[in-house]
Symmetry: C5
Subunit: 261 residues, 5 copies
Amino acid sequence: MDISTVLGLLLGVVFIIGGILTSGQIDSYVHIPSIIIVLGGTIASTLASFPLKNFLNTSKVIKKAFVYKEILPDEVIGEIINLANIARKEGLLALEEYAEELQDDFLQKGIMLIVDGTDPELVRNILETELIFLEERHMDGQSIFETMGTYAPAFGMIGTLIGLINMLKHLDDPSMIGPNMSVALVTTFYGSILANVVFLPLARKLKIRSKSEVLVKELIVEGLLSIQAGENPRIIEEKLKTFIPPELRKNYREHLEREGV
Amino acid sequence: MDISTVLGLLLGVVFIIGGILTSGQIDSYVHIPSIIIVLGGTIASTLASFPLKNFLNTSKVIKKAFVYKEILPDEVIGEIINLANIARKEGLLALEEYAEELQDDFLQKGIMLIVDGTDPELVRNILETELIFLEERHMDGQSIFETMGTYAPAFGMIGTLIGLINMLKHLDDPSMIGPNMSVALVTTFYGSILANVVFLPLARKLKIRSKSEVLVKELIVEGLLSIQAGENPRIIEEKLKTFIPPELRKNYREHLEREGV
Amino acid sequence: MDISTVLGLLLGVVFIIGGILTSGQIDSYVHIPSIIIVLGGTIASTLASFPLKNFLNTSKVIKKAFVYKEILPDEVIGEIINLANIARKEGLLALEEYAEELQDDFLQKGIMLIVDGTDPELVRNILETELIFLEERHMDGQSIFETMGTYAPAFGMIGTLIGLINMLKHLDDPSMIGPNMSVALVTTFYGSILANVVFLPLARKLKIRSKSEVLVKELIVEGLLSIQAGENPRIIEEKLKTFIPPELRKNYREHLEREGV
Amino acid sequence: MDISTVLGLLLGVVFIIGGILTSGQIDSYVHIPSIIIVLGGTIASTLASFPLKNFLNTSKVIKKAFVYKEILPDEVIGEIINLANIARKEGLLALEEYAEELQDDFLQKGIMLIVDGTDPELVRNILETELIFLEERHMDGQSIFETMGTYAPAFGMIGTLIGLINMLKHLDDPSMIGPNMSVALVTTFYGSILANVVFLPLARKLKIRSKSEVLVKELIVEGLLSIQAGENPRIIEEKLKTFIPPELRKNYREHLEREGV
Amino acid sequence: MDISTVLGLLLGVVFIIGGILTSGQIDSYVHIPSIIIVLGGTIASTLASFPLKNFLNTSKVIKKAFVYKEILPDEVIGEIINLANIARKEGLLALEEYAEELQDDFLQKGIMLIVDGTDPELVRNILETELIFLEERHMDGQSIFETMGTYAPAFGMIGTLIGLINMLKHLDDPSMIGPNMSVALVTTFYGSILANVVFLPLARKLKIRSKSEVLVKELIVEGLLSIQAGENPRIIEEKLKTFIPPELRKNYREHLEREGV
């Protein structure tokens, strides 16, 4: 569960409703047809912008912004050093048994490649291609939300233009000018909220999640290649430590010890 | 047929017309001279921005956003592994016969280069140059729509300015101020719709289509070079699998079996 | 003569004048002092932004967007294959005679370098540096128009602010508010038109022209180096064909035949 | 203490309050609910955009923009030349003692790697990876402020829309239109100030600080590798001098002399 | 003296004052408190955005946009060919004497490195690092003006918001609405002018100056390395000519002759 996404969205809604309540009543701001124009238009243009497959994928991508089990880089370093120690003492083949228990598919796949005696150049090639396309797929997900974040204000403005054009055609009853314009502005209001409270924050969150997931996988690639090259576990440790911020550099030591190495 | 493009455009129009009908009558929003200024101006500036050849090409490019036969990467992987198996068992020359039946020009051209015994470096050079210029030509198509997506709102604003300037010159009859301003705003309305419902979604769709087409071709280049190098089909499989998302990695196996390998 | 530039500019003006005539009279939109502020201000700031030399060069650059003799890549391929055939049959020195008749300075220079027996690495180095700086000079030209395209709307707004500030200071005569505001808006109108009908389309046209000119020159570099390396004309053909779109690939064959090879 | 940050923020506030006082009273511009909408909304969307960890880190990052002990590149050059002289005269091992007194962790770590006899390629690899991830972490900090700088004006506009929609619904009392609109505009005012006086300047300051910190560390990497390679201190001096502006190139000489070398 | 900067700024001011005089009196547009808010706020936020050192450097940077002695690339090519001829005839050491008379520090430094018999790889390394950091320092200067160009309109809008909020609070005297709003708009007017007439043109001018200064220095690096490698002056000439536009390629010949070589 990603607390900051949930909390951020909730707080955003709370502050806006709070702002509304201090200046008026909530029902001036709820206008179903306006919601339909803005949200519907945004979804329609997003649908036209992406292949159906990517579009339908959105629900999965949203889930990722809310439910996210972070893989801690310091734990991964600990795990890789364990692997390096095993490989040193019992040989590369001993890693196979260990790999079966691992939850991380990428790490597991990498170990199997090493155990199979694959050429180091090919191991790097396969794992890095995997990483590049993982990043690309992540970017596909982000870009849907970024795109929605640009369409939402645009449809907000289109809705307001619809309201204004209609209002200006019928200025007979001056007492209706204000309320009509008020309704016209509601779509711009919705468009801004959808973009700035929902779509853009989700796009940014996914981007950062992707970056940290890729970082962990780069760590794994570097570590596995060092293990395959038979490097000293202490050197591997030294190398991998540079991937993480100084304040985390003590943590993985504890993981190591907890796992009794 | 690209369902999402058609559906997205249709839904966009439906939501906007729906929005219009809930607040007024459709005829306030239909103003032929305004359509002519916005669409005509956009087309004129686009014409000035691109060589005539590219501009006339637009119709072909539009077709691509609507009618699109996706080449599935998993099918292509299956096909390449078949080729690798044939090359292994019967030699590279046996691929010629197989190639003649292929529909993909790029794959066919690549196989012919291999069969002709072209130097591997030259094969990569030729196929990659082909890819680079394919991408460039795709980008030419996208950029026409992106450009139209920036001109349309600009001409919307120019049209509104024309209306406003005229209206402000003749304020004699106050009862006409509203309707005149209403007409003035219609061009901005058209500009926003053209950009956000038509041009920008089409530009984005073409961009993504191009990316997935290039991906498949990169797959083919990688596969053909591995076949030429006489690599083991299992290794080729392992390499190419990394190009596609994990959920597709089982599919190509089925293709393989269906083709009886 | 670049028909699309001329046609695009003409059509843009026609559509705008058409739009004006359907809603009012042309004389409300002609205001000499406004033209002076917007065009003068744009030119002044552009002058301050660029060295005098680049600025004075603008007229030459404009000419390029209107009068442009496209060098067709398929013709160039044909020419290079001719050269390759001559070099094959009669030796590299035989190219000198042929080169003297060529109109393309770049191709001529390249051939002379080869005929002089210059080291291939140096030939590539010289021709590619030439290309890089050609692109840079092209970009200088484009960026003047892009810059004008950002200053024009800014001075449009400055002009409108001047008009508004003055109008607001003198609200004594209500009957003048409308006409005064109308005049104020005219500068914004001019700024938008200059940017979207003139400067930005010209900048884009120059960019695309540059790209296709550079493409042809890259073709020449690749071709000349292959000739110098003594490659088979058929291989050179295969290589260079990848630079051009499939639909043009038959054309150069015709050029070849016409030239009797 | 970073004087320019403190002074800049103070002056910004002073000029704005000054501007307010020349045209009206300060209390028209203080409206607690508006502050809550703009600041609260900005914080909420920023929270949703970043992982909780990064968000909580902001206070540390802010501190960095205010309190900053600049490490002068000319001092570092002096220090490295001292190290080079020691290494020359007494051998690489003699650096260990010297390193223990150093305050710069990065320089210290680098020296220890050299003293341990680590392979030069690995030393470069470790130190450069360290640098890359340091830069990434800096960028995480900057991007929080940049993001806040885009959300603040957006929530300013959302607040103004809330105010306008409410005001337009209740136009019964014309005497309240002005004051209500005044209140509505206050949120836009807050949003602009937060972005342009606080968030964007802080983001830019952090960016520049990061650049100069990374520059010093690049200097150290270059210097340490030269020391390890046993290069002549004079050559090292010549190399490192190019990293700093000419006017600083005499300063480090003084540092050298002060330290008695 | 850079005529185009001076002329551009002067003309910009002239056109704006001209525009003001055709529509009203100059004193409606002069409002000291507004100047203080816009200029003061811009300076304050710029101060907060940059280290004090960079900020104080601005005056030097401004000077560079006005007073600029262009080093002509064709003259430099002539000079390098002279050097190459001397080196050929009298040996590399003979360059020392010649170097002492040179005004260009960079060229002088490069020659001294060659005369000292420095390793070519190190010469390139030192001169290119010098170039990279020169470019970085140039960019620091430009980015101050670019930043001011974004803050100025923002503070223009903040000033206008201050004026509007105050005006709307006090609508008692309708005759003051116009003049008050007029004053409010003056800050937006100042912000636009500062950005589009002063800051952005200066930023662009500095950028282009930097590019041409770096070009000349790249020329020098290429030339010196060729001299050190003992290349034929004719080949060096051929290489360096590609750095400059065709119309300048005859000029340097004249320089050569004038210098009697």
